[in-house]
Amino acid sequence: MPLLNAPLNVELKIIKILVDEKTKRHLENLGVLVNALVTVMQVSEGNVIIKIKNVRLAINKSTAMKIFVAA
């Protein structure tokens, strides 16, 4: 499911990242990689705050829709 619809405060695994190349590079450098573990902390009007590698990252809605996670 997309990050946007993921349940809050549950550790999930990233299975797919479908954003453009440049953004993908940036996300990778921040540790947002396939198979990485991620927790959704807050959803505010579609924008999300995630916890990954113990860092809080804010991500906007359209990007969050393109990151897929599974339990």
Binding site: N9, V19, K22, T23, K24, R25, H26, L27, E28, N29, L30, G31, L33, V34, N35, A36, M41, Q42, V43, S44, E45, G46, N47, I49, K51, K53, N54, V55, R56, L57, A58, I59, N60, K61, S62, T63
Partner: protein, 733 residues
Amino acid sequence: MIKICLAGNPNCGKTTLFNSLTGSTAHVGNWPGVTVEKREGSYRKFDEKIDIVDLPGIYSMSPYTPEEVVSRNYILDEKPNCVINIVDATNLERNLYLTTQLLEIDVPVVVALNMMDILKKNNETIDIKALSEAFKVPVVEISALKDEGLDDLMKVAYGEAKKVRKGTTILEKTTVGSLVREAYNELKTSVSSPLFHAVKLVENDELECKDHPELAKRISDMKSKLPEDDFEGDYEAIIANERYEYIGKNFKHTFVKFNEGLTKSDKIDKVLTHKIWSIPIFLLIMFVVFHFTFSEDFLGLNKIFGLEITSKGWFNFFTGMGYDGAIEEEGEAILSGIPSLGVFLQSWMGFLTGSIIDLFNSFLPEGAWYTSLICDGILTGIDSIFSFIPQVLLLYLFVSILEDSGYMARVAFIMDRAFRKFGLSGKAFIPLLMGFGCSVPAMLATKTLEDEKERDVTIRITPFFSCGAKAPIWTLLAAVVAGRFLGDVFVFSIYILGIAIAIIAAIIMKVFSKNYDVPPFIMELPQYHAPQFKNLMVHLWEKFKHFIYKASTIIMAAIIVIWFLSNFSWDFWNGMVDDIESSILASVGRVVRYIFYPLGFGSGADGWKYTAATFTGLIAKEDVVGTMAQLGLVEGTINLSNAAIYSFAAYNLFTLPCFAAVSTAKSESSKKGFLVTLAWWLALSYIVALIIYWLGTLLEAVLWLGSIVIVVIVLLVILLGFYVSKKKRAQIA
């Protein structure tokens, strides 16, 4: 000379360390992207002078935004003698990622584990021996904030700087190891830092592949023989993954269990980034800030309890209100309420500077030209600006507190949704918010935006976020309108108007630019922390120093020129004129003022004075009130209508900012963008002021008709917004 640079993730304490090492006072804040340019200073505790270079924070050696390019290019091209890699010890996993990349460059590296004080407070330790052995570089524990371990760090770095180091990589034993080796063998004789470039080549870096096309082909053939994996041949992802895997595998035991579960920061965020309450809370915070700074009736106490004081008793002495020269006669009501902190400070400052002028007046001979120059020119001009300084500094203090606590990054986040509709990302909000302090650093901060178009648009609307130098204009006008309605509401409304017009301007620019996608918003949210007192004071001191410097140079020069122009006529060899109306400035102003006729403040006997003030504002915005004071326009003598006051305020808010800001805009925007920007500022300020004056006049004359017209205009703007967002949605679908 030895050059040592500081590299590390954003917000890991590089600038704090830089300040401690060099005794500088560079700006520190709690959000990613405070430093946008490299900065140099020197460390003098050794016999040899050492140059310290502070770089913008980077997450990796593959830059994403222009300010990250600055860092990468510096490390690769300028060849420092040593790189101090600052690592946030409370978040090793993400910070060491950059370390693994820095190690691949042929440069001595020292890892500085920062924020050790926080670790010690929580009784945590890090196995620095293991780290040092694994990376084969020295590791030093420091706390930049508490000044701990800095001497050790510099001793180690100084020693390393004399050595030569070959790059090493942690990718050696991974699936891509053979590819990197192959590329390395080919490159090692032809380029510097061959290992770094070899890895880039394996990552399929565009530039690198173009430089070595044959090698790139051989590598890609080798890649096709490797087994498939989860990343579908995306080698940048594979390498990024290998780095994180390596860090996880080798240093898992050294990770500190910080920030796990719901931290205090997370709980605060549940409220401050709430989907409904976040924006009202932000507006409330801003209003409280303005109320504390500009209100003449603190918390509405006077309105509720009806305070009226008619003598200069201790109570007045305490609030400062009766002493700023406004009250002449005993028995007149002095105090209409308890003033806010800002107004209180302003009153006393006005009293102080007023007394100084009186003092000079008392011993300088009456009627001499130099008395006029000193008292009516320089002192009056400086006084008019100085008395507003307490309020400006107070406003700046509040913004610094918000910056330092970490709230800025959250505001960017909650604003992103709204901003996206206007063609900007939430990231643009940080430069804009900095615009409340000064447009120059705000425009420099647009370097953190990855898209050129977004930078242009942001620069164009930055001056609409009223800067500290414009604040004296509003405060002066607030004092004028205070008798008609509330001063703090007036000032707040100016700020809100600025934001509203900025939004509308962004929408208009969006309509006229085709196929433009707002870049995604991805931002690290730092932990909240209590603002550092020392840090706040440094910010204030810097601001104050900057102001004093400006006041004593460019503002002073403008004031002297204005004094000359307003006290002499064209035949100036005949001495000073008695009547200001026959001065050079008056005769020029009377011609030029026709430009501002339609805006309301150009007409009337004083019209040329407002015109002159507006023009001196181009030199520095403080000069607007400075000039007004010299020409005799102060609280009691400004007799514009409400509409004209608003129009005057709006024109000065939206027109060309000061020269410093204009030249910054030139250096930061795209070539084509800059000319558009100039035309844009001139046209927009005129149109907005015109609309305000005409609507305001209409409102004052015929209330119902004016109301209808305003409602219609607001509706049109909303419709425009809807139209844009609908078009956008249609494009996506």
